[in-house]
């Protein structure tokens, strides 16, 4: 399992032609909006890349991220790349189990100390000393801190690892936290999404193998090449937003005409991801193309950002009740102070003094 031969050698072994490989590199370069001349450079670097050791830790998660990645739409090449770098430890994908599995993780951590990539999916429970999720008797927190020490960089795969995701949603019973809240001394790249787009992780790994460093990140630690624009920026329904044509229900005329889903709760305008351009399932489409608004799954706190079916313009808490209570309080104050004014007036009248504007409450 530790034959660090080159990617080119492995590809040839697997019967992948150089033509297919170059096509893949060109697609990656265009996906990351690199200049066209970069494709050969990526090809040259990838072909000679030594297989880096990778440890993949899965914490509080639903395996959706792994499912998404292993079902990538052009599985031969992308899963090969993925496969090539991810064999040392992965709960779901590895053949080993029990002590043997833990042993291979410990060996990799020792042998490639300071050099391995740590991939994490799932959030980490921190409440009650993290006892809400343990593997081989050890808490997720413990495993993460141990593995992070020797990592060259950490890739947080999916919104749970990147931002806490569903486990961290209110009331967050396990005290779940994202990787970046717990590890502060390592470069962390967040590949958010529930699940993330398969080619985004492939792209990030190809970038790391080619240039030996992580790509440029936004303020939330996500690779700018993929999270630089919103769904709304590239949505094919955007013209209808600009014209003010909105579907009001999921089966009205507007919905049939493909109008904008803003009023049905689409979070596209505030969601940074590449769905609208890379699409899903081999380019078949993305949620909005299927007639459902964007949930905003690649943004922090998306489970707590109000209903998925409430327009972005709508308040996320009850305004009517507050307004009613405020009106009552205002009325009460007015009545009380007016009564005080009248009492004052009466007492002044008795002493034959006059009430002036300055005397009454304001």
């Amino acid at each position: 399992m530790k034959d660090h031969d080159t990617l080119e050698h492995r590809l040839t072994q697997q019967g992948i032609s150089r033509r297919s490989f170059l096509k893949f590199c060109t697609a990656m370069a265009s996906l990351m909006a690199l200049p066209p001349g970069t494709a050969p450079a990526i090809a040259a670097a990838l072909a000679q890349a030594k297989r880096p050791s990778v440890i993949w830790l899965s914490f509080q998660e639903c395996t959706g991220c792994t499912e998404s990645l292993t079902r990538s739409h052009s599985p031969t090449l992308e899963s090969l790349i993925f496969d090539m770098i991810s064999l040392d430890y992965h709960h779901t994908l590895q053949a080993a189990s029990g002590f043997a599995a833990e042993k291979s993780r410990e060996d990799a951590m020792k042998d490639f100390y300071g050099k391995y990539l740590l991939l994490v999916d799932g959030s980490i429970p921190t409440k009650d000393n993290g006892i809400y999720s343990t593997i081989a008797g050890r808490t997720n927190l413990d495993l993460l801190q141990e593995a992070a020490k020797g990592a060259a960089a950490i890739v947080a795969v999916g919104s749970c690892a990147a931002f806490g995701g569903l486990p961290m949603a209110k009331p967050n019973p396990t005290g779940a936290a994202p990787v970046s809240d717990l590890i502060k001394d390592k470069p962390i790249i967040n590949i958010s999404g529930c699940p993330p787009i398969p080619s985004v992780i492939t792209g990030v790994l190809a970038h790391y193998l080619t240039f030996g460093e992580l790509p440029a990140l936004d303020e939330l630690g996500r690779p700018k090449a993929f999270y630089g624009e919103t769904i709304h920026d590239r949505c094919y329904r955007r013209p209808f937003y600009d014209q003010g044509k909105f579907a009001k229900t999921f089966d009205d005329e507007g919905a049939r005409n493909g109008w904008c889903l803003y009023e049905l709760g689409c979070k596209g305008p505030t969601t940074h991801n590449a769905c609208a351009t890379t699409k899903w399932n081999g380019g078949a489409g993305f949620p909005i193309e299927a007639g459902h608004g964007c949930l905003g799954c690649s943004e922090p706190n998306f489970w707590d950002a109000g209903s998925f079916y409430t327009p972005l313009a709508a308040p996320t808490s009850n305004i009517g009740a507050i307004a009613g209570a405020a009106a009552l309080a205002g009325a009460a104050a007015a009545v009380a102070l007016s009564a005080a004014d009248r009492a004052k007036k009466k007492s002044l009248q008795q002493t034959h003094e006059k009430l002036t504007v300055k005397d009454i409450s304001n």
């Binding site: 600009d242 014209q243 909105f246 505030t270 922090p300 709508a314 308040p315 104050a333 007016s338």
Partner: protein
């Protein structure tokens, strides 16, 4: 606090706070005015109060010929700004979606291009009124800090909304946050400033009309 959390706060707690301040303040002001405890008019009523009161509320909402001495510019720009502001506020589809979420009902929106025309004319009228206020010696003398402040608080929601719809400036998340914040600032300012005229102006007009009506004078 990341941009999403900030947006969530302005859409939730922030809006609740602003609404509470605005509603409480305005209820207090209006009711306090009504309960001021004026002396009972002992003269016999020579006419009704309600009819003339309501008529005056209605009539004073339109320019009377004798008032055009104020200058055509102020009248035209002032009406453009007030009408444009309320068209933008009440007939943009995004605003209706928001009001529907609060009130439980909505109404048909105007096309975006109509709103755009209203918004641009409103912004232009407000800028023209500001320039006029500053250039005209009399108006300038009469203006204080509060006049410029309320102008700014009214202008910002319009400007940020226009930028939001046109994709000018920061990303949508940040721009929507700024727009909502500017609205909340305006809501909070209403009860404490001249902006309260949006309600008191009507009660004052009613009072004038009712007073005249009671005396049997044509309001």
């Amino acid at each position: 606090m990341n941009p999403q959390e900030l947006l969530l706060w302005v859409r939730g707690t922030g809006l609740q706070l602003a609404t509470a301040v605005c509603v409480l303040g305005m209820t207090y002001r209006l009711l306090h005015l009504a309960l001021l405890g004026r002396k009972k008019n002992l003269a016999e009523a020579r006419g009704s109060e309600w009819g003339p009161g309501l008529r005056t509320m209605w009539r004073r909402s339109f320019v009377l010929p004798e008032l055009s001495a104020r200058g055509k510019f102020t009248v035209v720009a002032g009406y453009t700004f007030h009408f444009g502001f309320f068209i933008t506020l009440l007939f943009l589809s995004q605003h209706i979606a928001m009001l529907r979420a609060v009130l439980g009902f909505g109404w048909p929106a105007l096309p975006h291009s109509a709103i755009e025309i209203a918004a641009i004319l409103t912004l232009a009228a407000m800028i023209a009124l500001l320039v006029h206020r500053y250039m005209d010696p009399v108006k300038r003398m009469l203006s204080g800090f509060e006049d410029y402040l309320t102008w700014l608080l009214t202008f910002l929601p319009l400007l940020s909304g226009f930028m939001l719809l046109h994709g000018i400036g920061p990303a949508y998340t940040q721009m929507l946050t700024l727009h909502l914040l500017s609205v909340e600032l305006l809501l909070i300012a209403i009860p404490f400033t001249k902006l309260a005229h949006m309600l008191t102006t009507f009660s004052a007009r009613w009072y004038n009309g009712a007073f005249a009506g009671y005396k049997g004078v044509k309001a």
